[in-house]
Symmetry: C2
Amino acid sequence: MIVWRWKCINNIDLEDCPIAIAQKIIGGKWVLRLLYHLSTGILRFGELNRKMPEVTQATLTKELRRLEGFQLIKRKVYPEVPPRVEYSLTEIGMKLLPVLKELEIWGDEYKKYIKQ
Amino acid sequence: MIVWRWKCINNIDLEDCPIAIAQKIIGGKWVLRLLYHLSTGILRFGELNRKMPEVTQATLTKELRRLEGFQLIKRKVYPEVPPRVEYSLTEIGMKLLPVLKELEIWGDEYKKYIKQ
DNA sequence: CTCCATACTATCATTTTAGATAGTACCTAT
DNA sequence: ATAGGTACTATCTAAAATGATAGTATGGAG
């Protein structure tokens, strides 16, 4: 049996706890899907929106700005008309992709487990 | 550069998408912390609550039941007085721990990245 | 009889998150 | 002059999540 050793079990300083940080960032309803769409490359706002039609423009904008604030996402504005804005992952954002991949694998296992 | 291949990018069937499933389950505000407290072993309700004093009893109960519903958590009731209820991870719940570990590592990297 | 411990449940209030809808700015093409 | 395309912003509303608080059940100890 594996004994798990964590950085901050029983630690009160949640600001500093890496797991609490991760939860705060990836807890949002759309984050994981946003990340995985962006994992395939740069996308414009409209493209993203079309890939996730259940999100409203307003919500998508807010979520993108939030993740930009956390520096997981880069936002590049082209001063053109009609406007063009491209979104992509930052370096630290990309480092979440392996975790996302594992989550996907787990999700798949979970599905099988539940179905029997 | 790694090309990421996912099960359901551009797939509309979100019910079936492992990432959408994962997001739904671990999206809750307390999930990750709950899991990692339980990763160290069986805990009683009160013990858990003492480890996470910012959660109210009501919320903790609801969250535990939700995760029990998803079968990540086992709930064992002892017919004693005063009551005793023990919580632990199920098999499929434990399979999330490696992912949690990676998230922790990422969180740590993130902290460093942000600080400079 | 009263109090204690434990793990709740029930209500109501508040906060957070997301959705619906409409409007804006700007240059280009017709 | 007008319409079109894009990425917004601004309000308002609705829904979901969480918090605060009080109450319940039970049997044993004193």
